[in-house]
């Protein structure tokens, strides 16, 4: 079970670590704060509670930068 992660220069396949894996958990695994990120699942804006399924594409957009 895999999904595609797109974030900045990253465009990679990752394994879904467990069932009901959510975007919120993914953000924690990547050490990212949800305060700085907007998430898209298969091209649509979603809430972080959304689950990631096989072959999904997750795009994380950083909206807050220093400066």
């Amino acid at each position: 079970m895999n999904f595609i992660l797109k974030f900045k220069d990253i465009d990679e396949q990752r394994e879904i670590p467990h069932e009901n894996y959510t975007i919120d958990e993914l953000l924690k695994d990547l050490n990212l704060s949800s305060q700085n990120i907007v998430s898209k699942l298969n091209g649509e804006l979603v809430i972080e509670e959304s689950e990631i399924h096989n072959n999904d594409e997750v795009q994380l957009i950083q909206i807050i930068y220093g400066g």
Binding site: S33, Q35, N36, V38, E44, L45, V46, I47, E49, E51, I61, Q62, I63, I64, Y65, G66, G67
Partner: protein, 309 residues
Amino acid sequence: MMCECGKCGSGYVITKNKQSGIYLCRDCFIDSIEKKVIKNIKKENLLEKGDNVLVALSGGKDSVTLLEILNSFRERNIIDICAVSVDEGIANYRQSGINIAINHAKRLGIEHKVVCLKDEYGVSLDEIMGNNNHRGSCTYCGVFRRDIINKTAREMGATKIATGHNLDDETQSIIMNYLEGNIDNLTKLGAKTQSPADKFTVKIKPLREITEHDIGLYVIAKQLEVHFDSCPYAQQSFRMEVSQLINNLENKHPTIKYSILRGYDKVKNAIGDSLNKKFHSHTNCIKCGEPTANKLCRKCTFLKELGVD
């Protein structure tokens, strides 16, 4: 798990309000942000009929959102809008924001000026930073940008200057000034600020009650073109530390940013008047004529130091 929009019942939600726990769909979210800004404008009396508002437009998410929402007042013939973008001369960074600003101004048919530091003062930020002896990029940026925006407001006949400061910016400034004991600067914050010097145009912050995250979500939900990037000179700063501190608090106390703001507004009313008289006497800079508390204004002091005056 099924979530429904708390306003219209749509099953396709894009955000959950941290304070209320209510989910919103795209359209209801966009609507809620616009209504909130309009409500704040009315509550704080930020706009009057016939105002000509100069928008400080960097092409980033905050200023583009500001322009978008203020434009609804322009469409209803309540105000007129003009815009200014400051090009500090930061290679591989600023130009893309400036191009986006130009596109938005064209799209809306708004008079727009781009002012370069290099043309205005004979030196770009990159050149300043090429010297070993400097005060840190953001110090120059802040002082020069303010000078250009103030002057442009007079040139374009603006009655107000609107900036894209959001709830995060404002609460950071409040806490920073408290922590540094800088009570003079503390009283200069707020939704609407008027310097005692008549030469300075009134400044307003219509987005002051919207979180930075919601502004980011708004521009993406509305598919507005913006420049998301970090400045090459941005470094770990006291502001960033304070930002992390407030965001950590917010995780457990979701209304903390609002309570910081509300508390501040009460304090400002209480102490503002007494401090205003004491601190804010001014004269005009002997070099450029801009209002200042000293003989030379900060801009002219910096230009002298840099050897370009």
